[in-house]
Subunit: 315 residues, 2 copies
Amino acid sequence: MKESDEFSILQKYFKNLGSQFLDSSGILIGPGDDAGLFKTSNEDLIFSTDVSHSDIHFPKKLDPELIAYRACSVAASDIAACGGALKWLSISLVTPSKELSWLAKFAKGIKLFTKDYRVPVLGGDLSRGKECSVSVGVCGEVKKKYFLSRSGAKLGDSIYVSGFLGFSRIGLEIVKSKKNNLSAKEKRYKKKYLKPKVNLSLGQELRKIANSCIDISDGLIGDLGHICEQSKVGAEIDIELIPYEGTYKNALTWGDDYELCFTVPKSKEKKIKIIEDKLKMKLYKIGEIIKINNIRIKKGDSHLKMSQKSYNHFK
Amino acid sequence: MKESDEFSILQKYFKNLGSQFLDSSGILIGPGDDAGLFKTSNEDLIFSTDVSHSDIHFPKKLDPELIAYRACSVAASDIAACGGALKWLSISLVTPSKELSWLAKFAKGIKLFTKDYRVPVLGGDLSRGKECSVSVGVCGEVKKKYFLSRSGAKLGDSIYVSGFLGFSRIGLEIVKSKKNNLSAKEKRYKKKYLKPKVNLSLGQELRKIANSCIDISDGLIGDLGHICEQSKVGAEIDIELIPYEGTYKNALTWGDDYELCFTVPKSKEKKIKIIEDKLKMKLYKIGEIIKINNIRIKKGDSHLKMSQKSYNHFK
């Protein structure tokens, strides 16, 4: 099969993904050379990379279009968490599939993402392997003074999340079950798992008011834990204020929702309403940064005890 | 095993790799947050990503320190081929190993590379998987007018390579054989496979005189073929001018040497000697860009015929 030559594959399926956004993203030379070349502006740049691996981050048999789209969303979510604007993507794919139709579907998923988020692909690489693994590099722009870090939370900050937790966990079960005839609610759960919304607009609003921010990839407790550790503070959150579906344990320790968790000083909280109106979304205040050395989960007058903090595939 | 928590691993082994070069590379926020943040200068930026996969790009049982070092070299070679200066690395690792000692050795290999090439690690990601796969992102700096592309070769250009071909192929055989008591020559072959020199200084000299450039990752014929295709020219190379060891077939179609192949207009060829003296290395003129639609390999008065053009793991 002559077409299965790696270079031809790259040329055929991966060369022009999001190429209509090359100019607006300052790309001078896109895929096809040894490296991609891009202009810089007055902004500083951010870069992050995220691996999505079969049977760990997605079910092995998932439609390649969805594998690709989801891998891009998950990676781009880090740019949102830092308050950045997305500039370009880079895709490293390891795949066991020799089927050109598999690669075409995978490329279609990338293309859909580039259209939805108006961002080009700068380059990538492709290798054969026994398991599918997608490493997506994402570059974004943000001025240093607006960079939303994990380490800026201050005592007294209010803690917020950008949406319901637990949807993705239920969505993943639906995907695995291969159930058909889904209810409207089930479709929403499934979509949340497969195409989690990347909160780029929200991140760019928050960078003016939030002291810290993280995207919830591994579970609220674990990810808020990173903010607390790196900010050297503690947190109290109220289970009755947290928007979630499914069990509270899954909602608190399972990631995949890619909502943002952020902290805002009380003096800037009045801006929350303005952002909610502008972006037509609801933000949920779930607790406060306090002076303890862990995370306390309030439930009525008592506290919940949780053994598992977050998803960990190295356990 | 508490230490095997992914975040702890990242903190312990991967956080400070090359951190002494963060400032000189303009890194404002390094590993540990959702994304790394870096300053830009007047230069344009280049980015490339390269996957090294076990049993395809390196033997499965290779020392993790060498897997890591080699993966960085291979990726950084693309920056050299574009005439860039290396700015930072990003490492995505998929590994089957749960051994902390494996991860420690892998991190040591990265660290060695950062020291040898005076470059920091901006960030990375880590995932469990059945096979080891390393995707290295590399960022470099070069002004657009100096970017060495594959598409700039002109009729009449002389074709050069930066060193001997075939060493890595012999070196790989030595690595696989696990032979001890190596001769000085065998050690050289082995080193060339395990730690191919990244021709960054050469690339930065060539960008002032070369019309096109590529690093030989998949074999001279295949990679020079990319230059010819993208420049819409042909090439004649003379087997008796090509520096190689082992069989000519391996030397022409096997990659892994990461020498640069570049074309220089006759008007600028006198600069070659100056570069050779400055960098204390020899550059080899092997042929000329001509008006045919393929690559002709001269051997005395006849031409060689070759069926396999380059290494292709998708065949």
